[in-house]
């Protein structure tokens, strides 16, 4: 049974596309056939983060408008077996996505894929609504910052009222909290909301915590999802998240400050 996962947040710039790329690749590396769809029509970026921007010929809207077949538009990832990308259109506007059109594409993908990851645009407009409508599970990406937490709460309200599962009175969309750009050192100094603070406020299960990491920018510079970097804290944190998502019990990492050596304590270097 295919599972549809939406990566959403409300607020922009919190790491939805980074997470979509990492998560989709993580699922594929675990052997699941995975498609990741960019719903940000007009502002396509997932292809850049995945490093396949020069291989885009047809896009999601072309498939909806029957200007191309689905397997013409799907881009196979060159590094990872089982991973396919469906890019957004850069020229059309978001209204080009229709419920019927999106449903037809998802149904066709469901014939052969285990997971469909939907990368939502920011905001709570049409594009974000389309990305969440058919979801079975939602990963709500949140920064430890008040406006992001508030927007996440708003998105949780929409997930429980505006999705197909809500409309059809089926079991609700399964919600997961993913905290990104977390800095344990700043939490310790009382400068940043802690994991517990945010869980208290949003009260949904925590999937994982991605630490603030230089590896994320490096990864997007190179067009390689950060999960592929097995030497980075962010890459490892995403691997943990994927494993937890698939049902493994793994202790949270990167939520406590790094232990400093005696020398760096004295000289204040990191």
């Amino acid at each position: 049974m295919t599972r549809i996962i939406v990566i959403t947040s409300g607020k922009g710039g919190v790491g939805k596309t980074t997470t979509s790329a990492a998560f989709a690749m993580g699922l594929a590396l675990e052997g699941y056939k995975t498609a990741v769809i960019d719903f940000d029509v007009g502002l396509r970026n997932l292809d850049l983060v995945m490093g396949c921007e020069r291989r885009v010929v047809y896009d999601f809207v072309n498939v909806i408008n029957k200007e191309a077949r689905l397997n013409q538009a799907l881009i196979r990832d060159k590094r990872t077996e089982n991973l396919y990308i469906l890019p957004a259109s850069q020229t059309k506007d978001k209204e080009a996505l229709t419920i019927d059109g999106v449903e037809a594409v998802l149904n066709e993908l469901a014939d052969t894929f285990d997971y469909i990851v939907c990368d939502s645009p920011a905001g709570i407009e049409h594009g974000a609504f389309m990305a969440m409508y058919f979801a079975d599970e939602a990963i709500v990406v949140t920064n430890p910052e008040i406006s992001s937490v508030r927007d996440s709460d708003r998105i949780l309200g929409l997930l429980s009222s505006k999705t197909r599962r809500a409309k059809e009175n089926r079991p609700p969309v399964k919600e997961h909290l993913l905290l990104t750009r977390y800095s344990p050192e700043r939490v310790l100094r009382g400068e940043m909301l802690s994991v517990k603070d945010i869980q208290d406020i949003l009260s949904i299960p925590l999937l994982g915590v991605i630490p603030e990491s230089e590896a994320v920018l490096t990864a997007s510079n190179q067009g390689v999802p950060v999960i592929a970097n097995r030497n980075s804290d962010a890459g490892l944190a995403y691997q943990d998240c994927v494993a937890r998502f698939l049902g493994e019990e793994i202790e949270m990492r990167f939520i406590d400050p790094k232990k400093k050596g005696l020398l760096s304590k004295f000289f204040g270097s990191n």
């Binding site: 008040i146 937490v149 709460d153 708003r154 939490v187 100094r189 400068e191 909301l193 603070d197 406020i201």
Partner: protein, 89 residues
């Protein structure tokens, strides 16, 4: 600002954020859960009351609270100190 003040201010900013967020989100959730007819009900009530008493939009407030399985519709009308009889001609 002394060094102590500096650390003190920093220590508190996450607490301040949590407190502000908790209040804000509780209020957002109340607004989200209220039925969509409330603003219209408020407008229509205002029209009726206006026929008899000189009041403004801000003088009428309506809230819907939920306690267990009991819903309480609370209507607050602030009447002016000397109610002025509307002239009829």
């Amino acid at each position: 600002m002394g060094l102590f003040d500096y650390f003190h201010a920093n220590r508190r900013s996450a607490e301040v954020a949590k407190e502000r967020l908790s209040i804000l989100i509780a209020r957002d959730q109340i607004q989200r859960n209220q039925p969509s007819f409330l603003p219209q009900l408020q407008d229509e009530l205002l029209e009726v009351i206006k026929k008899y008493v000189d009041i403004d939009q801000d003088d009428v407030s309506i809230t819907l609270d939920r306690e267990d399985d009991c819903e309480i519709l609370e209507l607050n009308i602030a009447l002016p100190e000397k109610p002025r009889q509307r002239q009829t001609d």
